[in-house]
């Protein structure tokens, strides 16, 4: 086999792998999309079809599921609520988390390990465990549902941002800090003028993952909005409008809503993915 055909084969294999990954990642989502355009009869049809078809085999799309969810006021408001709650949670988690991560990753002080463990300890219990305790805390403070969610979501976003950012700060070469200090910068100046921009890929990545985690949270939202329906977030809204029709679960509508609320997140990823640029540190050390 000559070198050229070897190259062609390896390239083909590579692209086959990529296609397999694409299909694997997207298939359930595609299945949801497919189901969201099916009427109740089409959903129950056996065997299931890859595109919405009637029993006679003709392709027929059913749009009523989408119309129904947008007629539903609770659902539309819930999109705004989720954006607000997830957005603010992410910003706070990144802010507090990057402060803590800089201290843990680059500064010298006593009790570093204990602090790391303490922060990690926040993620060691299932959310349902602290549910009753958190509820008591919120009632004591007299918080309304939206701030309650923002604060309590820090329980799972803050440890995550802190830990991941700490490991990134640690990886950054010490020379960068030293050279900045030689130039007369205070540690805090070094932090926000030099180190923080260098961790941009990590900030974007952790921010994105925190946002999605908050966007998806169900249990706390369900509990805290029980007395304040106007503050319901998307997962709660979807779960509740599935309960409104007692007869049967509106599966097509759930799928339509799932598709609708996934699109904003995909758009967000599209906007930010450019920020995840390769080789930022390599360039910084060289230059």
């Amino acid at each position: 086999m000559n070198k050229r055909s070897k190259k062609v084969i390896s390239k083909t294999v590579f692209y086959i792998i990529i296609v397999v990954i694409f299909v694997y990642m997207l298939f359930p989502f595609y299945w949801a999309l497919n189901s969201s355009f099916k009427s109740e009869n089409q959903l129950m049809q056996t065997p299931a079809t890859f595109i919405p078809r009637d029993t006679d085999g003709n392709v027929s799309f059913y749009f009523e599921n989408y119309k129904a969810i947008f007629r539903n006021n609770t659902f539309v408001i819930s999109i705004l609520n989720s954006t607000l709650v997830a957005g603010l949670t992410t910003i706070i988690a990144l802010l507090i988390g990057s402060f803590a991560a800089f201290a843990l990753g680059k500064l010298r002080f006593k009790g570093k390990k204990i602090t790391l463990y303490l922060i990690l300890a926040m993620t060691m219990f299932p959310q349902v465990t602290v549910l009753s305790g958190l509820y008591a805390m919120i009632t004591t403070l007299g918080l309304s549902a939206r701030p309650s969610m923002i604060i309590t979501y820090l329980i799972f976003t803050l440890p995550f941002t802190t830990w991941v950012l700490t490991s990134f700060f640690k990886e950054l070469p010490v020379e960068i800090m030293q050279s900045a200090q030689v130039d007369g910068a205070t540690p805090f100046q070094t932090f926000y003028m030099i180190l923080l921009p260098l961790t941009a890929p990590a900030l974007v990545t952790t921010g994105l993952l925190s946002f999605i985690a908050a966007w998806n949270e169900y249990l706390f939202a369900l509990t805290f909005t029980s007395v304040e329906p106007a503050a319901r977030t998307i997962p709660v809204a979807i779960a509740l409008f599935s309960g409104q029709i007692a007869r049967q679960e509106p599966f097509g509508e759930i799928m339509a809503a799932a598709i609708t609320v996934t699109i904003p997140v995909v758009v967000l990823v599209l906007i930010f993915q450019r920020k995840i640029v390769a080789g930022l540190t390599a360039g910084a050390v060289k230059g």
């Binding site: 990954i21 010298r108 002080f109 640690k170 990823v269």
Partner: protein
């Protein structure tokens, strides 16, 4: 008294700055974790019930909840003897017969139910537990975490490496990668539930039926031998993107010149992966592993939505005790046990990985 003198002014300043920077995190920690956890710890020593209309008196019962959750006993099963004092052999299986576990397990003051049986030097023993369902949920969660995290890590590294190489459609794949993670967990569980339907209206049964592999009637969610693989499959799909994205970010911090140098030296692709990529990626993978494992040990949504009361994870058992049975004291004890369990696990795990070194 000896006073510690900081070596330099700079170090002193750094210490003070570190404290200031950590303060907001500590405030949050106290508010959303320490206070509620303290409340739960206190409740776990009581027989409190969740608001049941009229006020029910709450009693302090010490460690009884814990004893009920963790209490186990081991009893030898006596063999079943015939009139000649020989052990009866089951005709169908050819195995020697033993008494039924219910007969030998203690009932007073606490009732023990069978957890599992085992043989030891020709004798048969039964392990009884006061709450076998809880202990089984611990086992389920461990098996689930082990397999799903392992598969996710391998897949995550693989996908991250593919996305990190240069090809057309790289951006599209990077976006695609996040779709499973972005779909709301409760909803994605529903999507899978629908795909796993018994009968050919479900996707998997339809495909297996079309391919002639099965009769298309597999009950993925009710057949005990299919439940765990189904859960692992759903979780792997949902959380591999998390792994892949973190590892990808780590990959991009590896200086390109290292690879160039290796290429000049004539190192093969596989060699480069094991000599350069993997060692430099280790800290990132370790952090990702810690988070994924802790996450998997707390798994709730998928078990709750897909299996309900058919099979429990630790967290879904906790939820059922709290919401369905309104046993606030008992469920608090479940939560505290899970917390201690995961904490011990985390410390050992982090030590092993060396995440906190340096």
């Amino acid at each position: 008294m000896k006073k510690r003198v900081p070596r330099s002014n700079l170090e002193k300043r750094e210490q003070r700055l570190a404290l200031k920077l950590l303060l907001p995190a500590f405030v949050v920690l106290a508010l959303v974790a320490i206070y509620p956890l303290g409340d739960v710890l206190f409740t776990s020593f009581t027989d409190r019930e969740f608001a049941g209309g009229e006020e029910v008196k709450t009693n302090f019962i010490g460690f009884e909840n814990y004893a009920n959750l963790l209490g186990i006993t081991i009893v030898e099963l006596p063999p079943v003897l015939d009139e000649n004092e020989n052990q009866v052999i089951n005709e169908k299986t050819g195995e020697p017969e033993f008494e039924r576990a219910v007969k030998v397990l203690p009932r007073d003051p606490h009732r023990y139910k069978e957890l599992f049986q085992y043989n030891w030097f020709g004798k048969r023993y039964v392990v009884g537990a006061r709450d076998p369902v809880f202990l089984k949920s611990v086992g389920n969660t461990l098996i689930f975490s082990l397999f799903s995290v392992f598969i996710e890590t391998i897949l995550g590294i693989f996908i991250a490496l593919v996305v990190n190489s240069n090809f057309k459609g790289r951006g599209a794949l990077r976006t695609t990668m996040l779709v499973p993670w972005a779909v709301i967990t409760v909803v994605s569980a529903r999507i899978w539930e629908y795909m796993l339907n018994p009968g050919t209206s479900g996707f998997f049964n339809m495909v297996l039926f079309r391919l002639g592999i099965s009769d298309g009637q597999i009950s993925f969610l009710t057949d005990p031998s299919w439940q765990m693989p189904s859960m692992i499959m759903v979780d792997v799909w949902k959380t591999t993107p998390f792994m892949a994205l973190l590892i990808l970010a780590g990959l991009q911090l590896i200086p390109k010149d290292l690879y160039e140098a290796a290429q000049v030296d004539g190192a093969s692709g596989i060699k480069r992966f094991f000599r350069i990529t993997l060692p430099l990626l280790k800290p990132t993978i370790a952090v990702a592993l810690v988070f994924r494992t802790l996450d998997a040990l707390r798994v709730f949504d998928v078990f709750q939505v897909l299996l309900g009361k058919k099979m429990y994870s630790m967290a879904s058992y906790n939820y059922t005790q709290l919401i369905n049975y309104r046993q606030m004291g008992y469920s608090s004890a479940v939560g505290i046990i899970i917390f201690i369990f995961i904490a011990i696990f985390a410390v050992i795990y982090i030590r092993m990985m060396g995440v906190d070194s340096k």
